[in-house]
């Protein structure tokens, strides 16, 4: 039976005794791998972020002001509307993170451990929620509840609902619902690694079902804390909701203020950088709580002997209750954005009336301008997802080792990168990689496909790592050691000992990155190679040039294509991967 043993103990359980020559190679690799990893992290995340953030105190460094050192801009963000907006962002993000876990945890549990009807639909639905850009649900809500909107036309005169949705309540709800898939994926992956034995042990000792749940829930703590941290960081950096729902309700969020600072002309990069510092500092809150909660514990429970789970049979009333709850979540999380997108794309007159037309889809299909960007974004997504999963796995391995200053720094760096809005990230790339000295050396990276993909990888890596860290923390080192004892080289030891256990989380992380990059906008806007626009730019081109209906039709088409790819990849996984790999973490039906 697997035990909650300290990671260091399990690592030292088997001494394989390699040959002297092999030991030397291993020693070099053991040094080179972390060094290479850290070099990559410094180049793709730390350097660009610092290049922008330094503008808060030294705008002269990049020709963005006259001072080499000033605290004026940092001081300005603690006053007036900016301070209020930052404060709003903090509490809204905290509540949204909790909502994400409060819904994502039971959803993951019900799908993985029970015979709830319709559970097969939950995972694709979660992916769909992830695929939908955050402005789409906001748009749907606005159309539903605004004065003279659909709700009023249907005879429901409920101004209290309008005020609630177009304000803090609506903002928290939409951001919270957007966090559910992150929690669901992180906790599902961790649940997959936790066999039946813990629940059985609790039950054998007389625990009720609820008590056994309370006993095993702490085993999932790394995944839950990861979900909370990522939910907070994602919400604090979101702009789609800040610019729509929050804007309509005159409820200012930090990201909106930050974008305003950049969008005004001339843009005030030092003010934006100062606000970004606050957002970065804010992720210290969930990280601090996470560190305090997990200190000194090991969560290595995933082994080859992990027992397959037997699904719990729900009672009739339970089935009804949980199905209804999940159904409501899907209606709210998917139905509303679908309404927003469909109403926008099927209505000719700016979506204001109920007269339907397919003219936007006809216009979209008659133009070839979307096909090339679609194919281009597909390529970018495939490359980025593949590279990022490799980096993400490596980062997750570092994070789950014994806590050192380096792992703490990496942990903060990765989460801080999520909290930095993408436009800041992209502007930092321009600052860092478009220096005159680089051009004099013949290095022109800015506005090349290469730099765009590197930036995509860097922006995807933190979330990717968070998704993987829950599962990786459950791995017992003895698995690989056992394979090595039986003569496998390091690569084969990983393939035989680790890959079967991590194939599903790695697949999820790959899909998450792919879908995130496929419709990514802010980084694309600032870094894309001229004349080679990705699909998000092509869509924005129409949305920004009054062709709202065609732009929305393109969004619908792109989301459906991305969803089709997700389904194909999941299908291929089922077909190609050995049955034994899929069985790990799955439940008996």
């Amino acid at each position: 039976m697997s035990t909650l043993s300290p990671a260091a103990d399990s690592r030292g359980a088997v001494q394989a005794g390699p040959r002297p020559g092999a030991r030397g190679v291993r020693a070099v690799l053991a040094t080179l791998l972390p060094a290479t990893f850290w070099t990559v992290i410094i180049l793709i995340i730390l350097l660009p972020c610092l290049a922008f953030l330094v503008l808060a105190v030294s705008p002269r460094l990049f020709d963005q002001g006259s001072s080499y050192f000033t605290l004026h801009f940092l001081g300005s963000v603690f006053t007036g509307q900016t301070a209020v907006a930052i404060g709003n962002s903090l509490w809204v993000s905290a509540v949204a993170a909790v909502i994400g876990v409060a819904i994502g945890f039971p959803a993951a549990w019900l799908v993985a451990r029970t015979d709830m009807p319709g559970r097969q639909l939950v995972a694709p639905a979660m992916w769909l929620v992830l695929l939908v850009p955050s402005w789409l649900p906001s748009l749907g809500w606005v159309r539903l509840v605004q004065l003279d909107g659909v709700m009023y036309r249907l005879g429901l005169n409920l101004p209290i609902v309008t005020h609630a949705i177009l304000g803090p309540f609506g903002v928290v709800m939409v951001l919270g619902l957007r966090n559910v898939p992150f929690s669901y994926l992180a906790i599902s992956a961790a649940l997959a690694g936790m066999g039946q034995e813990f629940e059985d042990a609790a039950r054998v000792h007389g625990a009720t079902r609820m008590q056994s749940l309370r006993i095993v829930a702490p085993i999932l703590a790394p995944a839950i804390w990861s979900a909370l941290a990522i939910g907070f960081a994602e919400a604090v950096s979101d702009f789609g909701v800040a610019a729509t729902l929050a804007f309509q309700g005159n409820f200012q969020l930090g990201t909106y203020q930050l974008y305003s600072a950049i969008n005004n002309f001339p843009p005030s990069f030092p003010v934006a950088a100062s606000m970004a510092w606050l957002l970065v500092a804010s992720v210290g809150i969930p990280l601090g709580l996470q560190a305090r909660a997990l200190r000194g514990r090991s969560y290595a429970v995933l082994s080859g002997r992990t027992r397959q789970v037997v699904r719990r049979t729900l009672g009739r009333r339970e089935k009804l209750l949980w199905s209804f709850g999940l159904g409501m979540f899907l209606v709210v999380a998917l139905g509303v954005p679908t309404f927003g997108a469909v109403s926008g794309s099927l209505m000719g007159d700016y979506g204001g009336s109920f007269s339907l037309t397919t003219s936007n889809y006809s216009a979209m299909l008659s133009s070839s301008a979307l096909v090339s960007p679609l194919l281009r974004s597909l390529q970018y997504g495939l490359i980025t997802a593949t590279v990022t999963v490799g980096l993400g796995y490596t980062a997750a391995r570092f994070l789950t080792r014994a806590r050192t200053s380096a792992t703490k720094l990496l942990d903060f760096l990765l989460l801080a990168a999520v909290a930095i809005p993408s436009v800041i990230f992209a502007a930092g790339y321009i600052m860092a990689y478009n220096l005159p000295i680089l051009s004099r050396l013949g290095i022109n990276l800015y506005q090349t496909v290469g730099l765009l993909i590197i930036a995509y990888c860097a922006s995807s890596l933190p979330t990717n790592t968070r998704i993987l860290v829950g599962s990786v923390s459950q791995l017992q080192e003895s698995l690989r050691d056992a394979a090595r004892v039986h003569g496998a080289n390091p690569l084969m030891a990983w393939i035989r000992g680790i890959a079967p256990l991590l194939s599903r989380p790695l697949l999820y992380a790959w899909l998450l990155t792919f879908t995130g990059v496929f419709l990514e906008l802010p980084i694309s806007q600032l870094l894309y190679a001229p004349s080679q626009p990705p699909v998000s730019i092509a869509i924005q081109d129409n949305l920004g040039n009054y062709h709202f209906g065609i732009g929305t039709a393109q969004s619908v088409a792109a989301v459906l294509l991305a969803l089709a790819i997700v389904l194909v990849v999941l299908g291929l996984y089922r077909l190609i991967v050995p049955r034994g790999w899929r069985r790990i973490g799955a439940a008996n039906n």
């Binding site: 040094t31 070099t39 001339p266 700016y350 050396l441 062709h547």
Partner: protein
């Protein structure tokens, strides 16, 4: 010993990684250095059609960064110590005045064309940018089935008749909206008078939406009765919905679509950029501008004598228009938008 070897390995890896990055991109770099390409930064709906037509007519390879105005200006400001653009082509001259003040625009170029009187009024003295078309801000758009007697002056919008019925865009998100606000301040005698006007408009129930699209949507779904939007957006909407009408109140502010050349671009690129501007203002270029976005940005008033606007545009008598000084109002944009954010939204 172990520590030393690790440090050496770390250093070696860093150097190797940096070399790999540098080597990997050097091919691109050398190509770019030996054959500088004209890159057009544009937010115009017809830009791709024009760029393709230009390349076809002249054989000059041209790349297009097609974006909203905000990201384009962010790119230019973020990369101003090592710019990558050759031409900037967006609506509104306040941003151009700001770039000119920073010495980021090439001065002294004026194509040899026969300008219209309105076009002459928006050409800067130092010839640092060139108008390519005119729109106005703000046009008043209304639904003729709902509104039988539209307002005839800006002051009427403050009356009880239009309480809660007027909508406009947010200047922080909609590029053309700041020139409208600045234009009202200019017409009313100054910044404080303009602020007083917008404060009264707010007290009368002004609805602020992010951009032209949502403001027009608020009009078509009945939330508001009058939409104050860019003329090309309003006329485009009216082409699709015959019940929508467009009026210009006096004075309406001219919003020139402008194009400017990067002052730091290589000489060869600057010469190609000049040819691009000459092409845009030629009959072939104007034809491409009209064809590129016939229900959107192509609905502009031409700046060249003899070129007719597309059908559907209402007359634009010069007696109704005003031009704001972009060098005066441009530097005030951030502070006025911030005031609008705090007091009007």
């Amino acid at each position: 010993m172990l520590k030393k070897s690790r440090v050496r390995a770390l250093l070696a890896t860093t150097v190797l990684a940096a070399s790999a990055v540098a080597g990997g991109i050097s091919a691109t770099a050398s190509t770019a250095a030996s054959h500088p390409t004209l890159v057009v930064y544009s937010a115009q709906g017809y830009d791709k059609t024009v760029v393709d037509a230009f390349s076809k007519a002249t054989g000059i390879p041209t790349k297009l960064d097609d974006n909203s105005t905000g990201p384009l200006l962010t790119q230019i400001e973020a990369s101003k110590n090592n710019p990558n653009w050759g031409l900037l082509w967006v609506d509104g001259d306040t941003a151009f005045a700001g770039l000119d003040t920073q010495h980021l625009l090439m001065r002294g170029f004026e194509p040899n064309v026969n300008w219209t009187p309105l076009a002459k009024s928006v050409i800067p003295a130092d010839k640092s940018y060139t108008p390519t078309g005119l729109t106005t801000m703000a046009a008043v758009v209304y639904n003729s089935k709902v509104v039988s007697a539209p307002p005839t002056s800006w002051q009427q919008l403050l009356s009880s008749k239009w309480k809660g019925a007027v909508g406009m865009n947010d200047p922080s998100q909609s590029g053309p909206t700041y020139p409208f606000i600045a234009g009202m301040m200019n017409a009313l005698g100054g910044e404080s008078q303009g602020k007083a006007y917008f404060s009264k408009l707010k007290a009368n129930g002004l609805v602020v939406n992010p951009t032209n699209g949502p403001t027009l949507q608020a009009l078509t779904n009945g939330q508001i009765k009058l939409a104050l939007v860019q003329s090309s957006a309003g006329v485009g909407a009216a082409l699709g919905d015959k019940s929508l009408k467009v009026e210009y109140l006096k004075p309406v502010t001219l919003l020139p679509g402008c194009i400017g050349i990067d002052a730091k671009a290589p000489k060869a690129v600057q010469m190609e950029a000049e040819r691009f501007i000459e092409f845009v203002l030629s009959p072939a270029g104007q034809k491409a501008m009209h064809a590129g976005d016939p229900t959107g940005d192509s609905l502009y008033y031409p700046v060249i004598e003899g070129i007719r606007p597309l059908k559907g545009l209402p007359p634009l008598p010069s007696s109704k228009t005003q031009r704001i000084n972009p060098y005066k109002w441009g530097p005030l944009e951030a502070s006025i938008n911030s005031w609008f954010d705090s007091n009007i939204k």
